[in-house]
Amino acid sequence: MKRRITASPGAWIVWGVVAFFFVNLAGVIGSVLVSSFGTRWFDTWLPQGFTTDWYGAAWREFGLLDVLTVTLEVSLLVVAISVLVGLPASYVLARRAFPGRRLLYLLFLLPILMPPITYGIPLATVLYKYGFAGHLSGVVLANLVPSIPFVILTMTPFIEQVDPAIERAARMCGARTHQVFTRILAPLLVPGILAASVLVLVRTVGMFELTFLTAGPDSQTLVVALYYTMSAAGIRAQQSVDAMAVIYTSMMLVLLVVALRYVNPTQLVARVKDDDDD
């Protein structure tokens, strides 16, 4: 099936809007990039000269090595725990009918439907009460709240695609539940698990509110550190803040490139497959 785009007025408008969006997006990202390499940039199109000094300055001043280590630790822990906890639950929710299923589904949906600040403030209060907040453990616990439901929601369509007959056949051959999981489902679900992990990873690295509310000085992730340096503007040179922002962006872009090897962004919630093109 081929659908050629002919240049009707509607098509021009649509492509025009998209192009305008992308031009502005390029401007937003490009201005940060150019500024981070610039020496002095006031009322001109481009900075007066170019330098890479700001990266060294940002790296030293903000202790970026520690921040990056924390970011990596937090995100990997969150990914591992949320997949381990979320996968079995999403299997049961996708396959089984039992009393209270809809209620349970709603309960798992709520943390995604609520703005993070709404539950983040009471959660941070509770985590401070029990001494978790201000440390790595508190940041991980807080980030689990949206991540587990997210894994459940992402995995459900993948599990529904696996033919139950395969599992029944395995059961007929005498496999127990954990064997069905490790031998049958896990290999079939690898694309789904990778997709969910990568999405949770991207969300956790980019998650501002929950980390912001629960992090202490030694447990800031990159995005929170970036926020603090930005809101304390005037102390640091604008360019070194920009350099830090570029480091954050490139980290996210690397993650994104990895992510898109496993996830087609349009198939995130799709249930029916595209037509085969012939």
Binding site: I5, G27, I112, T125, S231, Y248, M252, V269
Partner: protein
């Protein structure tokens, strides 16, 4: 004992449901309990009786107006994101060269997050930024006010809404539309009678998720907005109460108010969608 187990199994309750327990436990301990704790805390202010914290919030116009400010930012932004995504996604749902590249590019702003977008907007739209250099005439003030925050919501929200709607659209079986085309339906009829009703649940979900993103706007409202005035959104009020005034009951009360408003909007969106959906099905039959 065995008999009981069999009878429960007939109703769908058996040991396999234990697989739910870890996730359920996490949600109960990390979400339900803190939320209940927060609600409880909001009814125990240091002064003013049970409803003192809520009274403090609603009697002070500086606090109360944050609701209108937040809705004034997030509703238009979410509606615009969804409304712009539908025609664009409808046109792009087929296959064309560069589609993968375009969807990849659209994921970029989602991953950037609000903090980086804020930094970029300050540079790009600022008084000496590239945008104002291209525009003729005097510099337009687009940062540190309503528009800065609004643009940041569009930049992060539009790709998100677009990708969701695109995936819902590609989830609709194309043979349905082909059948309608065979029966002589024009593109508007196909869109109105086939695609839109099937898309309605997706539209409602997309609107809700985009609205949640826009409603909880915090970093961009501080960084590109005017956090003491025109973009003092409700999350800033909650943060100030909790972390700068150390008034946890008030902070929890604001969080509860936020949650309630958010759920009301989501409920209205889902309610509208159910009205809309039954309407079109019946007209299709009639």
């Amino acid at each position: 004992m065995t008999a009981l187990r069999h009878r429960l199994a007939e109703r769908g309750i058996d040991r396999q449901l234990a697989l739910l327990l870890p996730a359920l436990l996490c949600v109960l301990v990390l979400f339900v309990y803190p939320f209940a704790y927060g609600v409880g805390l909001s009814f125990q202010p240091s002064s003013g009786g049970v409803l003192g914290a809520y009274r403090t919030f609603f009697e002070d116009p500086y606090q109360r107006d944050t609701i209108a400010t937040t809705l004034g930012l997030s509703l238009p932004a979410a509606l615009l994101n969804v409304a712009a995504s539908v025609p664009i996604a409808y046109r792009m749902r087929g296959r064309f060269r560069g589609k993968r590249l375009m969807t990849t590019l659209l994921v970029v702003p989602i991953t950037l997050g609000t903090v980086l977008t804020a930094e970029g907007l300050l540079n790009f739209l600022g008084p000496t930024g590239w945008f104002n250099r291209i525009l003729p005439g005097d510099a337009v003030r687009l940062t540190n006010n309503y528009w800065g925050v609004f643009f940041s919501l569009i930049i992060t929200g539009f790709p998100f809404a677009f990708l969701l709607i695109l995936s819902y659209l590609s989830g609709i079986d194309p043979s349905l539309e082909k059948a309608a085309a065979t029966l002589g339906a024009g593109w508007w009829q196909r869109f109105r009678r086939i695609t839109l009703p099937l898309l309605a649940p997706g539209l409602a979900t997309t609107f809700c998720l985009t609205f949640v993103l826009a409603f909880s706007v915090f970093p961009s409202a501080v960084l590109v907005g005017d956090p003491a005035g025109s973009t003092r959104v409700i999350s800033i009020a909650a943060y100030h109460a909790g972390y700068e005034a150390y008034d946890y009951p008030l902070a929890s009360a604001i969080a509860v108010v936020m949650g309630v408003i958010e759920l009301v909007v989501v409920a209205v969106a889902l309610g509208l969608r159910s009205l809309f959906y039954t309407g079109t099905t019946s007209s299709g039959k009639g």
